[in-house]
């Protein structure tokens, strides 16, 4: 008997299982010695009694659902919505990334350097939301790719090339069988001489896009709402000039972007106040006077200074 790709649905007890061979035939295997011989041959087992259509098409990434969806990829994206929030903002003169450090236990050894920000090259860094173990694989791939490009061309890898490579790697796991997608979303921040500072977001599907400001992870919708209104804010009291077609005038600089990022994190994180400095990791990237990329992960004191600035700003503008 040729057993191909099939599913079993559990009946009321575990005494017998019903096998469906792709809607062509149905065979019942009982929990007796003979019947149990067939059990090792079972490869896809869905033992939950769920009548929804998705269930039949979600066990494998290589299968589209009738609605044209890849459920495994969507479930992977769901996994990220439970992870620590990351905000990325493109400033006039640099990039800011802020992330929530989820401290799950006081017994955890303190991180030696950074927990959420990873460097991929001298001119590129990323923030992670999702399964850290999955992220480590992709980060290493990105580092190797950036290194090989630099070795081959003696030039730093352009940001989009790097992002596209990581995303192509992720896409492989949404199309080849037997493997699950990576449960990670990235915020890539980098500089190249072709397009200046760039911010990219990528998700488990292997899609990526460039952003001026974006949020990933828990409560990203709430974060995006704040960014939509506050990112390109007109300065208070001024009207938009008739000849003001330079929209970069209202884009924040790195310091302003830091404050905006903290404001977003305050909204998306549970709780705030004095403990917030430990729970946030702030990262900035800018150019120094020689045109070299300089990156910085803010110390606790510096982070607290930004948080205090945001608090006094909101207090003075009368926001609750």
């Amino acid at each position: 008997m040729y057993i191909a790709n099939y599913f079993i649905a559990q009946t009321s007890t575990v005494r017998s299982v019903r096998l469906r061979f792709d809607l062509l035939a149905s065979v019942r295997i009982d929990n007796d010695p003979i019947g149990r011989c067939f059990l090792p041959l079972i490869r896809h087992i869905d033992v939950s009694f769920d009548p929804s259509m998705a269930r039949r098409y979600d066990a494998s990434t290589t299968t589209f659902s009738p609605e044209g969806r890849l459920h495994q990829v969507e479930y992977a994206i769901e996994a990220i919505n439970n992870a620590g929030t990351c905000v990325g903002i493109l400033a006039k003169d640099g990039i800011v990334m802020a992330s929530e450090r989820r401290i799950t236990s006081g017994l955890l050894a303190p991180a030696k350097t950074s927990e959420k920000t990873y460097f991929l090259a001298k001119h590129a860094a990323c923030n992670v939301a999702g399964l850290t173990a999955d992220a480590n694989i992709l980060i290493d791939q990105a580092r190797l790719r950036a290194g090989r490009y630099q070795y081959q061309y003696q030039e730093p890898i352009p940001m989009e090339q790097l992002v596209e490579y990581v995303c192509n790697y992720k896409q492989y796991f949404t199309q080849r069988g037997g493997l699950r997608p990576f449960g990670v979303a990235f915020l890539f921040a980098g500089y190249d001489e072709h397009y200046g500072f760039q911010l990219y977001q990528s998700d488990p599907s292997g899609n990526y896009s460039g952003w001026k400001a974006t949020v990933i992870g828990a409560n990203n919708q709430a974060g995006k709402t704040i960014l939509k209104s506050d990112y390109q804010k007109q300065p208070e009291g001024e009207e938009k000039m008739a000849d003001d077609d330079d929209e970069s005038g209202s884009i924040p600089d790195v310091q302003g972007a830091l404050r905006l990022a903290v404001k977003v994190l305050n909204k998306t994180m549970d709780g705030s106040g004095t403990t917030a400095a430990e729970k946030m990791e702030l990262f900035t990237m800018a150019l120094d006077d020689n045109g070299q990329v300089v990156t910085k992960i803010l110390t606790k004191t510096e982070t607290q200074a930004v948080i205090s600035a945001v608090e006094s700003e909101s207090a003075s503008s009368g926001e609750s």
């Binding site: 460097f119 580092r143 190797l144 290194g147 630099q150 070795y151």
Partner: protein
């Protein structure tokens, strides 16, 4: 004609008191013809670490790029600088990987370790390395360089004395070698930084 003397080179590294120095000539030749007088054979891989590569020029450049790749990967993954001894071991492994089709380079590693103690090592083209606490030499006139260093070296030289010893050793050695010379450069590494000086020598 040996492949190791096709382009010509001379590199010396010496240890002083809490400092190291590395000096190299500047000639790039194609056998007897001199093609360049500003060819770089010493590379600052880290704030307190230099690597000198003597031998075939194409392999000098390739190995430098390869080392740059491997060291930056190390830095990204381990979030620390590579100690000189580890660089020595990495170079040794890289060279031995090409045991039966080697890079025609004989590198020198010179730097200060985490305690700012001098570190010197040199190796042959297939990665056999040896550490020294006085001086190491590599290139087309090693016989000359060994003799000069043995004569001029004293232990515990301060940075200025070290510069003198290195510069004089190098200049006198390359003057008796047709394949090296045409200028020189000396780098002195201390815990406070690197001092680089160009040498004025016989341009022949």
């Amino acid at each position: 004609m040996s492949i190791m003397s096709y382009n010509g080179s001379a590199i010396i590294a010496m240890a002083g008191k809490d400092c190291v120095g590395i000096a190299a000539d500047r000639r790039l030749g194609i056998q007897l013809k001199t093609v360049s007088t500003d060819f770089t054979k010493t590379f600052q891989m880290q704030p307190k670490l230099f690597v000198g590569l003597a031998g075939l020029a194409t392999d000098v450049q390739t190995l430098h790029n390869l080392l740059e790749f491997r060291m930056s990967l190390f830095k990204l993954r381990e979030e620390r600088d590579m100690p000189p001894e580890v660089v020595n071991n990495l170079l040794s492994t890289l060279l031995y990987e090409k045991r039966f089709g080697p890079y025609f380079v004989e590198p020198i590693v010179a730097g200060l370790d985490e305690d700012n103690k001098p570190f010197l090592s040199c190796m042959d083209l297939i990665g056999s390395s040896v550490k020294a606490n006085d001086f190491v030499v590599s290139g087309t006139c090693t016989g000359n360089m060994f003799g000069m260093c043995e004569a001029l070296y004293r232990p515990d030289l301060n940075p200025d004395e070290l510069f003198e010893a290195l510069a004089q050793s190098l200049l006198s050695s390359v003057d008796r070698d047709a394949m090296s010379g045409w200028g020189g450069v000396v780098h002195i590494i201390t815990k406070d930084g690197v001092m680089t000086k160009e040498l004025k020598g016989r341009m022949d």
